[in-house]
């Protein structure tokens, strides 16, 4: 309950133009060359396919980079965590607050991107609104994952490793920019292991208006992995900071 006291959003100025540029460049530019793509047995325009992928990427990036770089800077360089745990707040409060804040950023970015994408007529309402609660859940998972890396990386340079090994493969191979079916078999297997695959599947389904029981899989997967990452993040942070 102390957690809502976190106040990092005072300088919240989102670089939101980036996804719009992607949409114009890839959707408009490449979409013209590609034409329609096949997804879940139906043909959709490339820009319509891409838009939910960009929302998913935004949800991941905003959560995971918040707890990677944002939290690391506050913990390591600004010593903010030390300052806060000298007050009645505990380290657990701080970590939970950071993760919740990462998830909140995910929801904000999803909502803002949806405004742009809806303006292009690429969202099916009301189903698409399910993106918002789901992006909080997914944001929690990614923020908790980022916090795990923050807890184990000795310096900020070593973030290159998890970014190269985890974040980048997710960015490219989670059905975000092209349908998984077009990938070779091994890459499809890889995609199945990537958390963002489930987020992008959920987001694209509801953006296309396809709600239904097939959505429980991604929800449960995300909740389960999120729970594991959450407890792991707390344990690793305790190990790093409570000395």
């Amino acid at each position: 309950m102390d957690v809502y006291l976190r106040t990092w959003w005072t300088n919240f100025l989102p670089p939101l133009l980036e996804p719009i540029l992607y949409l114009v460049a890839f959707g408009g530019g490449m979409g013209g060359m590609i034409g329609n793509v096949l997804w879940n047995g139906r043909g959709v325009s490339y820009i319509a396919f891409l838009a939910p992928g960009l929302i998913s990427v935004g949800v991941m990036f905003w959560a995971i980079f918040e707890t990677l770089y944002g939290s690391f800077v506050r913990m390591y360089y600004q010593k903010t965590f030390d300052a806060i745990i000298a007050t009645p707040l505990s380290l657990e409060d701080v970590i939970v607050g950071e993760i919740l804040w990462g998830a909140t950023k995910s929801v904000l970015v999803a909502a803002l991107m949806m405004v742009v994408i809806a303006a292009l007529g690429l969202l099916k309402f009301p189903e698409a609104l399910l993106v918002l609660p789901f992006s909080f859940l997914s944001g929690l998972m990614f923020a908790a994952m980022g916090m795990c890396f923050t807890a184990v990386c000795p310096t900020i340079d070593t973030f290159n490793l998890p970014i190269f090994a985890v974040v980048f493969p997710m960015f490219l191979f989670s059905g975000t920019f092209f349908p998984l079916e077009t990938l070779p078999g091994w890459a499809q297997l890889l995609a199945g292991a990537l958390p963002l695959t489930y987020t992008s599947f959920f987001v694209r389904s509801v953006c296309f208006g396809q709600s239904g029981s097939h959505l429980w899989g991604p929800v449960l997967y995300t909740a389960a992995l999120g729970t594991v990452a959450f407890w792991l993040a707390l344990a690793l942070m305790r190990r790093r900071l409570i000395r």
């Binding site: 903010t80 030390d82 300052a83 000298a86 007050t87 009645p88 000395r243």
Partner: protein, 307 residues
């Protein structure tokens, strides 16, 4: 002096281990209400570890710590609500202004907005930062930052104030300004635990102190008593000396300590000895002074460098 008999800080046989290293090795101390208590010692003596344990952010390996009668291990949140901490490192939030740093911090204590505003204004005035209210942290001088950290430590009107090397790196003005505030707080009855490397600071501020070395307390008492107990009343320092002077000191049978470039002569009748010495060798390389806490410190912890 009446009423409250529970010590503000009470530690019993506190031990802190980091793997093989024993940072704190059985420290027991009691600090009564209203006292300014000093924790002195060379680098690695275990001062900061002790403070962090008292603060409740670092668990003890064994032993117990009570603050205001509450066990820190069990009632950490309650203890932390009543304690103000001025850490060694600057951990102000660089994203915020001077005033906003205090307001943000007050929220962690659950202080109401209006009360926090009033308290922040009061503290900024107390620490002569009122005209810097809106200044971003990165534009503050080192001295102003330290004063703001002290203000921040006072935002919850603490019963116990922990000052971990509050004046390290400050110029003399900055240092005296902090000392003056600490004395004012003392006068108000705030209990203070101070760690420092500056013996003058300890002598000026502390009612009582301990000297720690290698995790243990090796001396305890009021600063003046420690001086009379462990060193002589007077000390004569001689630098750039020649062999003849050394022999003169030996012949006299004076208690002395010979370093590469300096001799310390310890005496309870410094005036006389000084007169004799300067009559024979001149006075431009001799200094007569009172024994002080630094002499005690160096005598007890040795002169070799730590770390």
């Amino acid at each position: 002096m009446s009423g409250n008999q529970i010590p503000v800080i009470e530690t019993v046989s506190v031990v802190k281990r980091f793997g093989e290293l024993v940072a704190v090795d059985g420290v027991s101390l009691a600090v009564p209400q209203g006292e300014c208590f000093g924790l002195l010692g060379p680098n690695g003596a275990g001062k900061t570890s002790t403070v962090r344990m008292i603060q409740g952010v670092s668990p003890v390996t064994s032993g117990t710590i009570r603050v205001l009668g509450m066990n820190v291990a069990e009632q950490g949140r309650k203890v932390k609500a009543l304690v103000g901490v001025c850490p060694q490192e600057d951990n102000l939030d660089p994203d915020f202004s001077v005033h906003h740093n205090l307001i943000v911090f007050s929220r962690y204590f659950g202080i109401r907005r209006r009360e926090a505003q009033a308290r922040a204004d009061e503290l900024l005035a107390f620490l002569q930062l009122s005209d810097r209210k809106a200044t971003p942290i990165r534009e503050l001088s080192g001295g102003m930052k330290r004063r703001l950290i002290l203000a921040r430590a006072l935002i919850n009107d603490p019963r116990l104030l922990l000052l971990d090397e509050p004046t390290t790196g400050l110029d003399p003005q900055g240092r005296h300004s902090i000392w003056q505030r600490v004395r004012a707080l003392k006068k108000n009855g705030t209990t203070i635990l101070l760690t420092t490397h500056y013996m003058e600071e300890a002598a000026q501020l502390c009612d009582r102190l301990v000297i720690m070395d290698r995790g243990r307390i090796i001396a305890e008492g009021p600063p003046a008593e420690l001086v009379t107990q462990h060193v002589t009343r007077d000390v004569i320092e001689v630098w750039g000396y020649e062999q003849a002077l050394l022999e003169f000191v030996r012949e006299k049978g004076w208690q002395s300590e010979v370093l590469a470039d300096r001799i310390f002569i310890y005496s309870n009748q410094g005036d006389e000895d000084y007169r004799e010495l300067t009559a024979a060798f001149g006075m431009n390389q001799c200094l007569l002074r009172r024994g002080n806490l630094e002499d005690v410190f160096l005598k007890l912890t040795g002169r070799e460098l730590r770390e």
